[in-house]
Amino acid sequence: MTGIHPPGGSLARRTLLKAGAGGLGLAALADLAACSQDGGGSSKSLKMLYFGEQAQATELQNRLQPQIAKLDATIKFEISAINGTDWNDFLAKVLTQIAAGTPPDIISVATEGLQLMASKELAVPLDDYVTKDLDALKEYFADIHPALVESMMYQGHLWELPDSFNAGNMFYSTELFQRAGVVPPSADWTLDDFEAAATKIAKFKGINAFGWVVRLWGSWTSFMYANNANLLEEGKYDGGDWLWNKAYAGDAAATGRKGGWKWGAPTANSEATVEALNYMIELTKKGLSPSPDVGGGGTLQGLFASNRIGMSIGGGFWAGGLTNAGMKNGSFDVTMFPKWKSQRHLFGAGGYAIFKSSKKKDLAWEVLKLLVKPETFDLVFPGNVTTPGRKSLVTAARYAKTGPKHWSVFYDTLTKHPDTAPIPAPPYYNALATALNQRTTQAISSGNAKAALDGLQSDLEKAAGAS
């Protein structure tokens, strides 16, 4: 693990002296900020950071407070929302808040930020807590797919308890499919089937057959995964046996699981990766897909909800998102991502970690266990805005109101496609995401995937080197 200097250490002081007056003043401020990370909220409050709107966070806080009070009647549970367009934005704001000297006790972090957080030792490994409470947690691990748990591991340690995930499945408008005379796709459909359906739908004026967004999760990267390619070399850290042998003993899905994903050297300009991006360029040239937006996907979801897009990549969060955008149950459905060289999907998971600076780590651990209980899930995520990490929660009853009809696809992605893997989010995820966005738009506008991905390769090599 990468070590960091202790805040306010003597080495830091010596180096600061070299900076001169201006730098000294500033660095002292920075040092103070770093020192104040020891705070971790006031002694009578337990602070959690949440990706979303403050109104939702306050509602969640009020809903959970009675349960937290049962753990410690003197503690006030405070959830601060951080708004952002995507996880990249969220992480940047979280780190700014840490720099400002107001670190939380608990943080909700997705796959995107896990390795950054772990490599900087912002959180504490949960190994000891899990080992201590393994009996109580056996029910939890029996309900959570090991792929999700493994995605929350780094260098052999478990950093978060996952509670949710989203795999990159394919959503489609049942109405547009029907109008175009396209048979709803089966779970084992192929890329040729996808393109044939897209060609028929594209004949309608003002309709785009396939819409997508420039980002790491569920973008052209889904095609890249199905083409058995990636932006970085895939590997796994050793370790994790302490968990697999005890919590998942005898579970075939846990076979081969190790100590977390190890993202190696960049492979952004490999033949298969270039082929995947070229495929997207061809889709655009053929008029089957518009030039994509960059960012969170709100516009894409709106266009899909207004029946102007036939197909798009979405996860379980689209069920609630499309319903909230006004789509009726039955007007959309979901299936697996089409098979290319494989039908490998990508996914991102969400969960909770305990901040290293927290002075109430034991209480925070109790809250973490509370947050991953089945009955808490709908308090945290009302209205199908993500996919439950617990298989027992992915039920027909859950999707009865919102749809989609083939809701079982969400969890089947993990169980029926065991090669499904998390998005490549190394400790330098932020730099990777920025470069990926730039190089993707470059490729789409220039029509030259190879040149853009050569550039991405160079960007990633620099970022990996700096990291």
């Binding site: 600061l16 900087k120 960059v294 738009t441 853009a452």
Partner: protein
């Protein structure tokens, strides 16, 4: 003149002796102090802090590490960042030229209207975009200029014109952002020019008319030279603003496609807040500040020959 000066001096001397003068002085210093405090807290200290930070490597989380001039050395060999300086300069020049020429043209046209309410109406209309939030305008314009679903391309298609890649081609995105920035900022230069043109002495204009000067000759030989200090001011302010262009490209294109609209401030944001290289981001900010100072200095040097002070 000497008599007046003596009177003032006498009044000041008398005033100094007045018991309330010390209280007034304190009040004056307090008021000035507030301004100084404001500038110090929100301008001077952040600049000094940023300068200091530019000599460090700091990722927010770890303790800052002194790296001397490394951030600056890196900047001058960092192709994408250097390109962002070029992109910024190009877009800024286009914005300033368009903002000044269109603003002046509109001001001249409006100034010829004799009815006060007409002038007021135009002034208000052209100034309104400036009052709108740049972020809101950028989001709105992003929808308007969307390649596939945008209203602009929809109406063009009714005229038989194929969809224009306003924001999805390199040149298109830069040009669209420039036009939107000009549209939003033009109210500022327009109002300045209208006010300045109204202050041109009528006797000078009448003399030109008697000498037989036409409208164009009067504009270029009389009006523009007389309002040249205002033009200089508008040019300096417009260039400083344009060099810090961020909201429109960040919201509408995220600096793309590729890096076609990645301005220096976007580079700075990406390095600092997204890649957590706050020292490097600060170095970019300091070099941008220096660039703006140099360009502004050049503007003032050029003004010595081009600006006419009455």
């Amino acid at each position: 003149m000497a008599a007046v000066t003596a009177e003032i001096r006498e009044a000041v001397v008398k005033r100094r002796g007045h018991p309330s003068s010390h209280g007034e002085a304190r009040f004056g210093f307090a008021m000035i102090g507030l301004s100084v405090l404001f500038v110090a807290v929100f301008t001077a200290i952040p600049i000094v802090a940023s300068l200091g930070l530019s000599f460090f490597s700091w990722d927010v989380i770890s303790t800052p590490e002194y790296v001397g001039l490394k951030n600056y050395q890196r900047l001058f060999t960092d192709g994408p960042v250097l390109k962002s300086f070029g992109v910024t300069l190009g877009m800024a020049l286009a914005i300033v030229v368009l903002q000044l020429t269109i603003g002046l043209g509109l001001a001249v046209l409006v100034n010829q209207r004799k009815l006060v309410w007409v002038r007021t109406l135009f002034r208000t209309t052209f100034y309104l975009p400036l009052l709108a939030s740049t972020a809101a305008v950028s989001i709105f314009m992003g929808y308007l200029f969307d390649y596939k679903f945008g209203v602009v391309n929809y109406y063009l298609s009714l005229l038989g014109i194929p969809n224009v890649p306003w924001l999805t081609s390199g040149f298109g995105a830069a040009a669209t952002i420039v036009l939107i920035a000009v549209w939003q900022q033009i109210g500022f230069t327009f109002v300045l020019f209208v006010a300045s043109l109204m202050s041109v002495p009528t006797d000078v204009l009448e003399a030109a008319q008697i000498d037989g000067a036409g409208a164009m000759r009067t504009l270029f030989r009389i009006k523009i030279p007389l309002i040249s200090p205002t033009i200089l001011f508008a040019a300096v302010v417009a260039l400083i603003n344009a060099m810090q262009l961020f909201d429109q490209p960040y919201i509408m294109t995220k600096g793309g496609p590729g890096s076609a609209t990645t301005t220096v401030t976007i580079s700075m944001y990406q390095k600092g807040f997204q890649n957590l290289e706050f020292g490097y981001g600060s170095a970019i900010a300091i070099v941008l500040l220096a660039a703006i100072l140099v360009i502004t200095g050049l503007q003032f040097l050029a003004a010595r020959k081009l600006v006419f002070y009455q």
